[in-house]
Symmetry: C2
């Protein structure tokens, strides 16, 4: 009984360089296997992190999106328009509507119609919402810090630089 069924053991599915090279060779392509490996590993890491983040935020009764919305509200004085939230979070307005629905139901936020523009509705952080952020902050930030704890300051700086350039490159997948 060492490694079975469940598919979420310590290190499932880490793509290897030989695996990438084999795939490329099969079709006789002139592509750098290491480059492909970087792409594959980053996708793997992104999926894993996304899943872990949901588990992390679920401790506090939130999802990743709902936490980010609350944090953005607090970062902007406690009152922001849904369309601004969508832009800040990088999600659609439809998604923001859904996030607000649940946050409002839970009393962490409420909506108020705008006086100047009848189409707009401000989203406002409640005291309960603010205290939720306050309560979770120590553990939340400590865990984030621990996550990158295997990198020293210098390495983190290098990582930020490289990650930034790879992030720019992501558009290569969607261009054209």
């Amino acid at each position: 009984m060492t490694n079975h069924s469940n598919g979420r053991k310590q290190e499932d599915a880490i793509p290897s360089l030989v695996q990438s090279q084999r795939q490329i060779d099969r079709y006789g392509l002139n592509v750098d296997a290491q480059a492909v490996l970087v792409a594959a590993r980053l996708m793997e890491a992104g999926a894993k992190l996304g899943h872990a983040a949901e588990i992390h935020f679920a401790r506090f009764g939130l999802s990743t999106g709902r936490y980010r919305l609350l944090a953005d509200l607090e970062d902007n004085g406690g009152e922001v328009l849904p369309s601004q939230l969508a832009e800040h979070l990088g999600v659609t307005r439809a998604t923001v509507t859904g996030l607000i629905d649940i946050l409002e139901r839970d009393g962490l936020v409420f909506r108020r119609a705008s006086a100047k523009d009848g189409r707009q509705k401000s989203v406002i952080l409640t005291e309960l919402g603010a205290s939720k952020l306050r309560e979770m902050a120590p553990e939340h930030f400590a865990r984030l810090e621990a996550m990158v704890g295997l990198l020293n300051k210098e390495e983190r700086s290098v990582f930020l630089d490289l990650l930034g350039r790879v992030t720019q490159g992501i558009s290569a997948l969607t261009d054209e």
Copy 2:
């Protein structure tokens, strides 16, 4: 008309160091802002990459998961058990069932009951499935390579090392 509504412009929502520092200061925590920034940027990048990958694979009528399943099949001689696929892909068996359902419907794969174990059903790559992989390979790998094109060989190597260590650290979010 420069930057409105849609929330998916060139560079929405890039978290900054001052923003991270501000959040930490608000609660008087003793946490490294750069570390928090790395975590935030990686989450951002992961989400962005996941979304871009779906768009990329949709060109070929596939999703990320269905492509990975096909590729894993081909990497393993064209016949693999669902439970093995789940392990290789790092997803649950329930998810694999759904992926196979669609691939089978589209004729890229078929199921066959196992002779030795009545519970098992092999998944087998069809000729259509193999040719789908063959057709998409040039564009697929070229785009992956382009994605990391802003990094040279040396930098890619460093990035792989650092990413690997951060990936290990992800468990800090889920531990306990």
